[in-house]
């Protein structure tokens, strides 16, 4: 594999983890979150600060960064519990803008200059190869898939699906909406924190602009285009939306326009995504399996 392909594969893997973690919040618990890049940013920034400012080791900072992201995720999830659906979407947009604004304007977080010199993982004193890093990333992708699968099958997953379908009916059957909404927020932001650590370590430089609101839209689009509440959907969506811009590099100017139109047409004609319940993929498979 060439260096370019490995870099691309690492990027895809980092986005896969992100999309799967958002899928737990949006797809399983039905909480519309348009600020997922904020949690990604918190993971990346805590890792960057712990390693560059406080000189903590790689593994220690990584674990601490994930813990911090989880705590902040639960803390930010609390005001979101008071609001539902449309209000929640706008609140999470707000969270994204506030978090990005704070990282961008306080010198402690590097301000507009960002943070550089974030360490790459080492093995016996030597930096590991990009290929080894890619294996680590896909290791975490596998763990995330396992967690998604386990959550979907567990009692907590069932409870979340019940709340997503009908919150009132679920709470009457003594399923506490608050507990399971917070649980999904905690799991989702913890995994986003893992992705943030991997991103910061791979890029070695981060700035607030990397985690702006359009990034959140892209992550949500990965979930929705692939098909929410499925596991293959976010995986497929992140491959598609990372690879497409690379393939269409030669028409650089039209990239964003095509991206906007893709969102509109997907939602207009395939609102469940490619792998959703009424998605086009299952339709094709069904047609061929009958014939």
């Amino acid at each position: 594999m060439s260096g370019y392909l490995i870099t691309l594969a690492i990027t895809v893997g980092i986005y896969m983890i992100l999309a799967l973690s958002l899928n737990i919040i949006v797809g399983y618990a039905g909480q519309i979150s348009l600020g997922h890049a904020a949690f990604w940013a918190i993971g990346a920034y805590s890792f960057a600060i712990l390693t560059t400012k406080y000189g903590l080791g790689f593994a220690g900072s990584a674990v601490l960064a994930v813990v911090i992201t989880t705590l902040v995720g639960v803390f930010l999830g609390l005001p979101s519990l008071r609001v539902s659906e449309d209000f929640l979407a706008i609140t999470t947009i707000g969270i994204n803008f506030i978090v990005q604004g704070i990282f961008n304007s306080f010198d402690y977080f590097g301000g507009a200059m960002g943070i550089g010199g974030i360490p790459f993982p080492t093995f016996r004193g030597e930096m590991i190869s990009n290929f080894a890093f890619m294996s680590i990333v896909y290791g975490f992708v596998a763990i995330t898939i396992a967690i998604s699968y386990g959550f979907k099958r567990s009692w907590a997953g069932l409870a979340s699906f019940a709340i997503k379908d009908d919150e009132l009916a679920a709470s009457v059957s003594s399923v506490s909406p608050i507990r399971f909404k917070l649980l999904s927020f905690a799991i989702g932001s913890a995994i986003a924190g893992v992705s943030g650590v991997l991103y910061a370590s791979f890029m070695s430089f981060i700035s607030a602009a990397d985690f702006s609101f359009p990034v959140s839209v892209t992550i949500l689009a990965m979930v929705m285009v692939g098909g929410e509440a499925t596991i293959i959907g976010p995986i497929f969506g992140s491959i598609l939306l990372v690879i497409l811009p690379e393939v269409f590099r030669f028409i650089h100017d039209y990239r964003m326009l095509l991206y906007g139109l893709l969102l509109v047409f997907m939602m207009r004609f395939q609102p469940d995504g490619f792998f959703g319940k009424r998605g086009i993929v299952w339709g094709i498979i069904r047609r061929f399996s009958k014939a």
């Binding site: 949006v26 519309i32 348009l34 005001p79 008071r82 609001v83 659906e85 449309d86 209000f87 979407a89 706008i90 609140t91 947009i93 707000g94 969270i95 803008f97 506030i98 990005q100 604004g101 704070i102 961008n104 304007s105 306080f106 609101f213 839209v217 949500l220 689009a221 929705m224 100017d253 039209y254 964003m256 326009l257 991206y259 906007g260 139109l261 893709l262 969102l263 509109v264 939602m267 207009r268 609102p271």
Partner: protein
């Protein structure tokens, strides 16, 4: 200095109000977070700019930006929102963001990415009221937004059309059963609110004397914060919230030098508001 900032804040707030009122109206009727509303605002600014270059008349430019805005708004409603009405709100929200990106990128590709300015500054000169300086452009922005808001208030509160709009926003099926044509009403509401978004685009373009493709980015999301503070579908709430946020921004940045970026202040205010009173500003006075 302080009173000067109040004048500046009210001017900005008036423009926010023009955008946010339309957004609140649309949300009240279709329950859609209409992010592409800011796309209409950009289209209005460009239409106004080019018509002004041709005619050198503010009145004709204003009418042109309102007409273009209305057409674009109705097209978005007919082609994107109406077919998606039976799906969950998140789907029309993402479609709306897609429409917004496409409009901004389309404009960038057609008219170029650069800042365009009006051929002759539309309004020059300023008035001195005691120590206050009110530029002519500020006065026009203030007057036009106050006049438009009074007009919107008259339309929605004092006419049969407004009554029908209210009925549709309360309950579409009930409104249909008393023979209100709801599709026609939805179209009218979009035409109406988009016309004022287009006008707001022209006003902002003239006020800062610059029109550019990404000028809708900030209003797109700030107007969402405004309608949340105002209580989502409440038109008066949106109006007061817009003025308050306009004032809050200019005063906290201009007088107190708050170190936060200007555009996140509205959202911080929104989160505080949600924690105190989720039903919005108007909910504080009503019990």
């Amino acid at each position: 200095m302080f009173f000067q900032q109040i004048v500046n804040g009210l001017t900005i707030g008036g423009v926010y109000a023009l955008i946010a009122i339309g957004l609140a109206l649309v949300y009240g009727i279709l329950r859609i977070i209409h992010v592409a509303h800011a796309g209409v605002y950009v289209v209005g600014a460009y239409a106004g700019l080019y018509v002004f270059m041709l005619t050198h008349s503010f009145m004709i430019a204003a009418l042109a930006s309102m007409a273009t805005g209305a057409v674009v708004g109705v097209l978005i409603e007919e082609l994107v929102y109406t077919p998606l009405l039976n799906h969950s709100p998140i789907i029309s929200l993402i479609a709306s963001i897609g429409v917004f990106i496409s409009i901004e990128e389309g404009i960038r590709l057609i008219f170029g990415p650069y800042i365009k300015s009006f051929p002759s500054a539309m309004f020059s000169g300023e008035h001195h009221l005691g120590g206050l300086v009110v530029s002519n452009s500020q006065a026009v922005v203030l007057l036009v937004s106050v006049a438009s808001i009074l007009f919107i208030w008259f339309m929605t509160e004092k006419t049969r059309l407004g009554l029908a709009l209210k009925a549709v926003s309360e309950d579409i099926e009930m409104a249909e059963s008393v023979s209100i044509d709801s599709r026609w009403m939805i179209m009218l509401a979009f035409a109406f609110s988009s016309a004022f978004a287009g006008l707001a685009g022209l006003l902002v373009g003239a006020y800062f004397n610059s029109v550019y493709p990404s000028m809708g980015d900030v209003p797109a999301y700030k107007s969402l914060a405004i309608i949340v503070v105002g209580g989502m579908s409440n038109i008066w709430g949106a109006f007061f919230a817009a003025l308050i946020i306009g004032l809050l921004e200019t005063i906290s940045i201009g007088v107190f030098n708050v170190p936060l970026p200007r555009d996140s202040l509205a959202f911080i205010f929104m989160v505080v508001m949600l924690l105190i009173k989720p039903s919005g500003i108007v909910g504080i006075f009503k019990r």
